[in-house]
Symmetry: C2
Subunit: 385 residues, 2 copies
Amino acid sequence: MRILKINARTVEISRYADASVPGGGLTTTVVAVVTSAERGGRPVTGYGFSSIGRFAQTGLINERFAPRLLAATDRDLVAADGTLDPTRAWDVLMKDEKAGGHGERCVAVGTLDMALWDAAAKVADVPLHMLLQRRFARAQTNRVAVYAAGGYDFPTNDIERLCDEIREFLDAGYTMVKIKIGKKALAEDLKRIEAALSIVSGARLAVDAMNRYSPRAALEAAHAIAPYALRWFEDASDPLDFDTHARLCASYEPALGIGEATFSLPDARNLLRYAGMRPARDRLIFDPAHCYGLPEYVRIIETFESAGWNRQAFFPHGGHLFSLHVAAGLGLGGSEANPRIFQPFGGFEDGAVVEDGFASLPSIPGIGFEGRAALKPLLVDLATQ
Amino acid sequence: MRILKINARTVEISRYADASVPGGGLTTTVVAVVTSAERGGRPVTGYGFSSIGRFAQTGLINERFAPRLLAATDRDLVAADGTLDPTRAWDVLMKDEKAGGHGERCVAVGTLDMALWDAAAKVADVPLHMLLQRRFARAQTNRVAVYAAGGYDFPTNDIERLCDEIREFLDAGYTMVKIKIGKKALAEDLKRIEAALSIVSGARLAVDAMNRYSPRAALEAAHAIAPYALRWFEDASDPLDFDTHARLCASYEPALGIGEATFSLPDARNLLRYAGMRPARDRLIFDPAHCYGLPEYVRIIETFESAGWNRQAFFPHGGHLFSLHVAAGLGLGGSEANPRIFQPFGGFEDGAVVEDGFASLPSIPGIGFEGRAALKPLLVDLATQ
């Protein structure tokens, strides 16, 4: 087994289809990893992308990481049974990487890692969540708890459109939603939260400040929203300001969410050591594709478990098919869902059923990106370019 | 004033010219930033590179950061006096960058920032250290304390060649040297250290473990080398393992060095908060080009000063002309020097004088990269490509 070809392409990935809503200028890299493994007489191709919320990594992939995979031999890439082993390929990707500096390259590696898991599941002829359940000895499941994410600031009729979006989520079968705060004045954000609470209870509403508060503003916001007893308050301030986070933990009674902007095991260890987090309460939002891919994500989970946490505290960021498989395959608490935003990657398989806050799982082999009509032309074009 | 063109190129940058010594597979990006400012009827071009010890960032520069500079207007780039202001350009580079994830992009930004300072000093018609002294209100100086770095493991005749290298440094006017440890068994490294100590005293010898020790091995090594009373012991273990570093500080009496693999102000703050460092003793090795460039480096210095440190504790990593200007221009403790390794960037101007451990400063406008015969053809080719 060898990797025959890796094609990578930068694409824009906007928050809403509505161009009047600021898109954030975000991009992602889509990769097609063509292997020498065959199924039905055709080479198995794995697809991955750089998840959402940061930036594309096409340059790092083409310059540094794809060449390592392309140079790898059968011995470097396969398990004892002769099939592609993404955890072995991960060692190839990370060869000669230096300690420290966990940004960007962690996304580049995670993007290729996602494609390798897609290929491995296709070789095994099972959906990824089943491959992960076998590989990591987790119970099988046919559904995952999900919450719908959205609620960015709309430039006009903000409150009305926010409420419309939340009602749409509920109509689609979601029972829990997450909205953004931290960009406007606190009083404005409280109005948004109260509007949302007119539709869902506090136990079904999370807020995400996207790391935008100063230490002082984070503590003020926490004080103001504590009475709402929200499901969780996520990314209040700088993700590396463990001191502020520890003060939040000491003063804010409801759950906090953190981890989306933490990209490695050493950084996750520091969260554990210094950020004052509460195992029975707080939620961990690490994005597997942003933190060096699944092998490092599994090490992060195991590190938290060793410190007394339950893996039910993990709700991977992303809101796309890969996060869903990971949550199902590793027995996590649940997954974010982005049914409306970050298209064509946000959300799950076409026609996915969400009932009472649980999503059904895809049944086609691999991750199932090519099962999405809006995505398939891009992937076919990329694989054959 | 606008940025007219940015050309970036990846080049290999090996430790030793001797191909039998493992080069580390390292690369760097060289950039030429062509401005609309003119001197002598020709556009002013700034040159920068990604320093040494990590990897090239050509992809990130071309995809994400160069386009921002190229789109910037006069208003975004110039100071009140109408000349290029690299600290304003830095805000342009960092626009819409998200919190957390301080790796790779910090090098890409630092590379362009270096070229902008080169251009700004050329516009001002002074060597960079003089521009920095004016800008940051530091006393003028005509020399900088330097130490010679090298001492990597040689594949054959290691001890003999190590001693030859150290003698060469002393013959060239250096009085202090730094050698590498952490790759071999501790007993072997102790032999290297003792061989070096047969030539220089402990007060003139630093060792750098390049973050290679496990927490336990770091503490064992510290215990073993403490009796030598070395100048400093650098990068013992993982740069984000503050806990291990704090234990080293508590048990190891002589100075420690840290910071080379710390790439941002939030990470530097965590070093201050959690790593147990000792202001009057330890040495700070941050690389200005690796940690988002000079504006962020200055903020790191100021943050340490606010915490009771003296900027004499800063010895910037790199061992090239830019580090030398920064050490001179900001009034730091001194600079690394790489006279033999990482060519054609290692070391200072052609014919630089080192006497009694102090290096003379370049006198041509800017950083002076094009004053190096071994470098000039590459820069000319890059600027006109």
